[in-house]
């Protein structure tokens, strides 16, 4: 059976595309699937650092597309998680060296070798975005609960629909305390505007920064709330139906006490 290409995109930069890509990819591999993660951000490669594989890069995606090497030569196997591979971006080229036709050719080969191919799209809606979505079978849009991210995600959703892709939404970096204080949009507000299928809600988690700096997979940390959310998202993308968990405030000792004494 042919594999699926899933593109992870957002429009706006810095909303967590790379973290989401690496986490979803790792989580799908933990589900027993053969997964390739492809860094499409040519010129600004990050995914190798986040996954802790930067020391092992020999060939990159530009070499694959230009026919300088085979997919197997460029794909770096992750030593901690079986069946997880990374095809890194090139740091020295720019986005125009890849053409949609070239990416399409590469995706054809990847589909035969892997169950899931996850493409980490660069920010923006120019060439890099086009290269990433050209061969996609599914699209996941990452959005944080702030007005500018929502607007960019909305634009990207329009562009994905124009390519007959039905995007799914992940709302990232939810801070329940700030939502409660009214400082942050709630996931419902975001969903109201974007109105596409929700595939997961990810809470703000300090562990994300540590894990990307040290290059350890987030999903392997059982105490990471974001990591656990991404594992559930991977299961949903893999076809399981599990209910969406809304990040909640852990009630403090005082509110618990108040409740027991019937104060509120």
């Amino acid at each position: 059976m042919e594999g699926k290409v899933i593109v992870v995109t957002s429009g706006k930069g810095g909303v967590g595309k790379t973290t989401a890509t690496s986490s979803i990819g790792a989580a799908l591999a933990l589900e027993g699937k053969r997964v390739a993660i492809v860094d499409m951000d040519i010129g600004l490669r990050n995914l190798d650092v986040v996954m802790g594989l930067e020391n092992r890069i020999v060939f990159n995606i530009v070499d694959v597309v230009q026919g300088k090497c085979k997919v197997d030569q460029a794909a770096i196997r992750d030593r901690r998680i079986d069946n997880l591979f990374l095809i890194p971006a090139s740091q020295s080229d720019n986005k125009d060296v890849l053409t949609p036709a070239g990416v399409e050719r590469m995706a054809k080969v990847l589909r035969q070798k892997f169950d899931y191919v996850i493409m980490d799209s660069p920010a923006g809606i120019e060439r890099g975005f086009e290269n990433s979505v050209v061969s996609a079978n599914e699209a996941v849009v990452i959005c944080t609960p702030d007005v500018s991210a929502v607007r960019d995600a909305d634009r990207v959703i329009g562009l994905l629909y124009a390519r007959s892709l039905e995007p799914k939404l992940i709302v990232n970096r939810i801070e329940p305390a700030r939502v409660e204080r009214g400082e942050m949009l709630s996931y419902k507000d975001v969903l109201d505007i974007l109105s596409i299928e929700l595939v997961g809600l990810v809470p703000m988690d300090e562990k994300v920064l540590i894990s990307s700096n040290t290059g350890t997979p987030l999903v392997l940390q059982n105490d990471s709330t974001a990591g656990q959310s991404f594992r559930r998202i991977a299961k949903r993308l893999n076809g399981e139906t599990i209910p969406i968990e809304v990040p909640n405030l852990k009630p403090s000792v005082w509110t618990k006490l108040g409740k027991t004494f019937g104060l509120k």
């Binding site: 007005v147 929502v150 607007r151 960019d152 909305d154 634009r155 959703i157 329009g158 562009l159 505007i193 109105s195």
Partner: protein
């Protein structure tokens, strides 16, 4: 390219079996006659025995000028009949009321652009006349219409009704929260969350845009009978 803003002193068109000459009386008579001569000479044999209608466009009370040009044409060209344009007929109010009451809209061809679905950021919609959207308009979207804009849903984004210069247009939505409103030539910026729930509409009053509660100040409430727009 065709120039629609052409302010030529004389315009010549084929109309039915004959020619229609529209003259602009603001130009001097000698210039008008010279221009007519030039145009008719260009037509050569096509002008022979042609039925000509003389018209002054929107200008009134130029009968003498038209008469003089008519005589000039009779003397210098071998044309067929030369007539002046028929008086413009306007439908009297009484008959218009009758027509509206007797469902005159049955034969009305609509210029309304009606769409359903969500208009997303970065999408632009241009309507020649009225625009109706059943669905939401997201922040970052742009709507432009020659007439009214009606949104059956939340309206955010940029809206321009009455494009380019119709101040009489209105903008209606079930939740009114646009970032920029333009009606005709008048512009207003959105006021952020209004806090008012329910349908609202924007229109022009004394050269500024006002937003009102539709249920309280429905502008069409007082219209005695339904009218085709």
């Amino acid at each position: 390219m065709i120039n629609f803003d052409n302010i030529a002193p004389v315009k010549l068109k084929g109309a039915g079996g004959g020619l229609w000459i529209t003259i602009d009386p603001s130009h001097p008579e000698s210039e008008l006659i010279a221009e007519i001569d030039r145009l008719l000479k260009k037509l050569k044999h096509l002008a022979i025995n042609a039925d000509v209608t003389l018209d002054t466009g929107d200008a009134d009370g130029q009968e003498e000028l038209v008469e003089r040009i008519k005589i000039h044409l009779e003397n210098n060209f071998e044309l067929g009949t030369i007539s002046t344009s028929p008086q413009k007929r306007s439908i009297p109010t009484e008959r218009r009321r009758q027509r509206d009451l007797s469902k005159g809209w049955n034969h009305h061809k609509s210029d309304v652009l009606m769409l359903r679905g969500r208009v997303r950021s970065g999408q632009k919609i241009n309507a020649r006349k009225h625009l109706v959207i059943t669905g939401d308009v997201n922040p970052g979207a742009e709507l432009t219409a020659g007439g009214d804009i009606i949104v059956l849903g939340t309206l955010a984004g940029k809206v321009h009704a009455g494009y380019p210069g119709n101040d009489g247009a209105m903008i209606f939505s079930l939740a009114f929260n646009p970032s920029l409103v333009k009606i005709g030539l008048i512009t207003a910026t959105g006021a952020g969350e209004s806090g008012i729930q329910g349908p609202e509409f924007a229109c022009v009053e004394q050269d500024s845009i006002v937003v009102k509660n539709y249920m309280k100040d429905n502008p069409f409430k007082r219209m005695p009978w339904p009218e085709v727009i």
